[in-house]
Point group: C2
Chain length 637, copies 2
Amino acid sequence: MIIFLPYGRRLKASKGKTLLDAALDAGVKIQSFCGGRGLCGRCRIVVRSGGENLSPPSEAEKRILSEDELSGGLRLACQAEIVSSGEVLVEVPVESQAYKQRLVAGGLETPVQLKPAVRRLVVEVRRSTLEDAESDVEVLLEALERKIGDRPTVSYEALKRVPYAIREGDWTVTVVLWMDKEIISIEPGRPNEVPYGLAVDVGTTKLAAFLVDLESGKTVATASDMNPQISYGEDVISRISYIMEGEGNLERLHRTVVDGVNVLLREACKAVGIEPSMVYDMTVVGNTAMHHIFLGISPKYVALSPYPAVVRSPVDVKAKDLGVEMNIGAYVHALPVIAGFVGADAVAGILATGIHESDEVSMLIDIGTNTEIVLGSKERLAACSCASGPAFEGAHITHGIRAVEGAIERIWIDPETLEPAYKTIGDVKPRGICGSAIVDAVAEMFKTGIIGVNGSFRSEVEAPRVRCDGGTMEFVVAWKEETSTGKDIVVTQSDVREVQLAKAAIYTGTSILMKRMGIEPLEVEKVFIAGAFGNYIDPESAQIIGMYPEIPLDRVQFVGNTAGSGARMALLSTDVRRLAEDVAKRVRYLELGADPDFQKEFLKATHLPHMELKRFPNVVRFLKGKARSGDKGLKSL
Amino acid sequence: MIIFLPYGRRLKASKGKTLLDAALDAGVKIQSFCGGRGLCGRCRIVVRSGGENLSPPSEAEKRILSEDELSGGLRLACQAEIVSSGEVLVEVPVESQAYKQRLVAGGLETPVQLKPAVRRLVVEVRRSTLEDAESDVEVLLEALERKIGDRPTVSYEALKRVPYAIREGDWTVTVVLWMDKEIISIEPGRPNEVPYGLAVDVGTTKLAAFLVDLESGKTVATASDMNPQISYGEDVISRISYIMEGEGNLERLHRTVVDGVNVLLREACKAVGIEPSMVYDMTVVGNTAMHHIFLGISPKYVALSPYPAVVRSPVDVKAKDLGVEMNIGAYVHALPVIAGFVGADAVAGILATGIHESDEVSMLIDIGTNTEIVLGSKERLAACSCASGPAFEGAHITHGIRAVEGAIERIWIDPETLEPAYKTIGDVKPRGICGSAIVDAVAEMFKTGIIGVNGSFRSEVEAPRVRCDGGTMEFVVAWKEETSTGKDIVVTQSDVREVQLAKAAIYTGTSILMKRMGIEPLEVEKVFIAGAFGNYIDPESAQIIGMYPEIPLDRVQFVGNTAGSGARMALLSTDVRRLAEDVAKRVRYLELGADPDFQKEFLKATHLPHMELKRFPNVVRFLKGKARSGDKGLKSL
């Protein structure tokens, strides 16, 4: 028997299972970033008794946990395997409990006129007689031809249902048409069932799904979760490497993400009380690798020069071929991609922000594990991509968590006292720091001189919050008395380094893209910062750390999950799908790796805000104004 | 341990298995018509020792086997279940051994110009570069467009292979195109692999398959076997009833026949040393119920007035959706059907015989468990169907067997001595009688006065070969000393009755069809007798018993398996497919059941050759001439 505290859930012990799997079976959600590979150390649990019924600590545990922790009963749930059937009392500490992530559902979205790819039609067919025993399909198509002026094809799945539907419906049936070209479903009579669609954003780290009533156009439910592929690598490149390692790995990753989407599909359907079989259409966006893997296509060559996509044009494929468990006749529409590293999510972002039809020059920065940048106007568009890593999603940060309840989402530091203030999601006790606050923290630490232009903690700063722990400098955001974990929440030197690398990657992308297009920062009339990570990055903080060139802040707008918005727009209208295809063809792709200046630019951009301070005159002026009396760090800028 | 004699095959006993299944496992083929339901009594075996390890005789065995037989160790293999693991010595008598059936592969066939639905094309694609990293699909379609002037779609299965094929083939690939509309397969380089196709005739009783080289048009292998659906009913109606009995029964029958086709597919491929994945196309014909079940479509309403087909137009469906294990991207093309009881096999027969383009009036009689009749010329065509039963395939006949080695295929009876002569397939000792000889036997027995116009044995005939066994009259065709079974081979009164019913059904169909079209027998310039049962029915014997109206014999031609021929023609040419669709629309279907004269006509037709002798003036004249001296039976006609 395994008993989980504080939930009180009980479960019969199954030998060979890890505590992580057992917890899942018991409905207890434990955090895990690395997918149970003993790498991230997020699934710490305390074994209160019965430790002898578990496997001894693994190498991974010995690496991640201290001897004191191990002797105190601390284990990694993913490593501790049940070896005998005795009782084990497991406590899941609050910082290891997985919470539902907050999702930015409402990304900026350009309104579209409803014209979905599927529609239902009630059809009355003539009865066949002994004198004229015409086939069921023939009488159905005859009637449809009278209604829509054309004869669609009949999908194999619908074909098999035709004779039953016609007779159970007493010669009245309701068909669901796809693109007016194919009957994908047939039901007897006039069931009062609206067809639904699901717009899906397959992020490297996160999945988001939007369930839409296709007759009203309304989003009736949203669902989101981690991309379960994360077990096989945190970023695009490591997943592609995994695929290249073995024969069945592509199929495994494909199944994993499709299963994840199926979970969201069921969850969204459950929320509004419908069956997944009532979902007749799906649009999918994602970066090219995610897009390809979702479709079961190998992204192997996407990772090899010249980084071509396997397919750029939109792909329509039967849901059942992919294993998506919606209506059996339904199609999945994958939006087009621009290049190997600028995917359908960027196309969706363009559609959502309307960059492609604007007279003004706009820039879209879609921040994720991979960040895509699009720059241009209706005249011309170019895009590039940069590997910014998952820091802004809370990974690789000491106390980083996703945007869940208890996550610190804003941080301010008093320039005189160096005492911080913060705000948590849900206004509860903090349990960690999410992406937006990590950007804030670095910006504020820089503004207040705690760290210097190179990102290092400045030795001359002395304050109760600044300390050295085991040789590493850190800033205490919240004392353990204030937190729900009973531990201090800190930002360490290495956390600052992660942010520097991430922001440098993004800055380099924006600056090279602008240089190649001959566009100066001040010519950019609009900057859209997008991301599906659930928290609003403060444009000022982002500019202070130098995430993008200096552009007046009133031109910068956080627009949320535009990938999801674009997917939803394409779900609502086939005109948008055509537009997406057109836009994807128009965008010129720039390969950053091919740019001779890349390395140099990247290195310079790791500084705060940048090694060439003249690129950030206003930030410098602002910082000088903010500088604490007596502190020479900022004054000397 | 189960030991099978005379094969000497040994097999570990599995409790709960029947001896029939055990034999199959041991590679010992035992005859079974009813599919192991204890109905046909064909799977008799002798238990030499170890009977205590088997279940006691079932009710079915007690019904079919005499007490003497049971006490002598005779059992039905399908009923005797293994109950313990002791040794059982089983002898399979020669008449229970299943032989490979002779197949009429070479049906009449109108030559067609080769224009298959699939073709392969070698395509050289341009390499993508860092400056222009176009997608794999785009460079492929560009190259194809230059070659064929159009851009086909890419099947999902092919899409997944595109990146590998392009690179493994060093930017040269071979694609297989379906209808020039879809890339269904892609291979690297220029493999020297011809695409093959399989033409399949799904008969109620038999399956026949023809493997065709689609570049030469040559049939390279044929394969045939029983339709394994026979376990679920011998005729169309009993299978439809089975489907109506339970939810999963349609799926079960569908899987069963598809599995049967897969066996033939593998067998044909093995014969020429190719992989089933090299088979890229399949055409299928069958009566409407077989056609529907093969496609997984319920034929339920085909059996209910007004007997409509679910679909009449040709159906193209992915092989993988059906479970056909050829190339994963391949399509199966099911030819169109004419009506609920005149199927794609009749359409194929029309194409093969060319009735639809002839100036002369022709009649096609395609004899099977269900017999289809088509009458007309290029001006007009009509068709009907009749349930003639499986007698001509050797079923329901005391010593009836299929056209396998050792089957008597011709019988003659000396009018003076009443001594028979016969010919067996393979010129070996006889083991039973197949369909053609059954027709001969009845015709000869009638000609020689052994039976009268009503089909009854005539009491006044005395001869060593004519005897009464257990109250039933019978004619001994072969004495046990001559046979390989060690038993007399006879034709009984009930065998004659079976033939009378079968031929009456066919005659009624032909005569009502002619009446409804206003065509007299002498206006019919050509009679094509078709069938897939492996033996050539003698047109004279068939006319003597009155299987069809009296038409000069030089106009009658046995044309073999025209269903298979038509399927092969459609495999060779998409023009033929279009023609088939056109022909299927043109043929008027006549529902015999709706004809007021049906019952009366049928009853009159059960006589030999017919109750109204004036319909057969030449037969009567011929018979009178043949009559034995002193016998008043025929003289009195």
